[in-house]
Symmetry: none
Amino acid sequence: MDQPARKVLIADDEPDIREFLQYNLSAEGYEVFTAKDGDEALEKAKRIQPDLIVLDVMMPKKSGVEVCQLLRSQSAFKDTIIVMLTALNDDGSHIKGLENGADDYIGKPISPKVLVSRINALFRRLSKPKTTVLNVGTISINPEQYIVSVDGKEISLAKKEFELLYLLAHRPGRVFLRNEILNQVWGNEVIVGDRTIDVHIRKIRQKLGVDCITTVKGVGYKFEL
Amino acid sequence: MDQPARKVLIADDEPDIREFLQYNLSAEGYEVFTAKDGDEALEKAKRIQPDLIVLDVMMPKKSGVEVCQLLRSQSAFKDTIIVMLTALNDDGSHIKGLENGADDYIGKPISPKVLVSRINALFRRLSKPKTTVLNVGTISINPEQYIVSVDGKEISLAKKEFELLYLLAHRPGRVFLRNEILNQVWGNEVIVGDRTIDVHIRKIRQKLGVDCITTVKGVGYKFEL
DNA sequence: TGCAGAGTTAATAATAACTTAATATTTAAA
DNA sequence: TTTAAATATTAAGTTATTATTAACTCTGCA
């Protein structure tokens, strides 16, 4: 059985362009969704969680640049590939796009071949392996089931606890600074006190019953058995 | 409303009839495509993969009957609903159509109401999820009839309830995010509130009487016994 | 026409998750 | 050894998320 098809969301107000992209990317095996303005793009992006989003710079409701900014401010889209679609003559806009977190830009008009190869290249370059089951010693962490088992015994962790443990455990031995932890688990928009991390660490230690998280005083925490 | 809009392909050589059908079926929420002869019908059917095809019996290039035969010989169209469109006076042709794999026939002329209700009825009757019976522990889930049995006792679920349960149960243990659930069960075109999921989950739990759906707070739901 | 069921929403209640604050303990440097 | 800084622990306070219920719409159907 092969992977689920990669999902691509196309946002452009011109039906011709939507159809052009949709046709060519579908033929390439991508699962394609479309939106006709900025608001719809945001709404669908949230729902569909696409792997790649193509945003026309000029769109009704919200411009591609705005949409890009809004998406990038949400941690759910930190790994989503965003491509801006610009008319070749509107010179500065692609730069603006890149500054706002886009991964690439494509100028209109574009040939089907170039389009497809650019998109393929982006996936090759940027797509990260999906999260998988983590096995460290006797501990197994399964993000798909949101379950942690120790010696075969299943232990349920709350969301933040789970994410924190996963972060630490996916690179055993490496020390994570408190800042890093806050960024990865809480996101950089959220502000919480430092004690919050401690409390979560404590709960994990308590629930797992195994001493696998080491404090590195003045620095952070690391996972090791 | 459910799923992305259903696609209907209309093949008839008379522009008036095409427009009549297109207008009435579009108004009903279907996504309508048209073709004006048999060859075009075949070509578009392949490209569009419609859920339902209306074929006029008398068409240039290839007759509806021929098109029907050709489509049915391809596995990609084995589940496509095919309706033949016949003039009332040409008596034997609908029988020929049915012999050749059509699911129904509609006589011309036809009123908009009747047309729409016939098409709707066909979808209700024929477009079933063609998936297999699922057995998980003491629970057995039968997609053919939207029936679930627990300890041999049959319980009937509504469509959405069933689809939701089926989604969760076909991968026991795996957590489905609310987004995923919305996508899979409601389709990405439909916008419904988050509480809707809860209500359906509740009904399933209530009807089954077995605690098999676990809430993963802040994440989603999973099926497990 | 009105009933029945499916589906949705909205309002409120319940609960689990998360955060904070206060206090205790540990750690490492002076 | 002392001391200050950092972390651990605990309990309590807040918030966010889900559960529940009831009402409302829509559609099909007797």
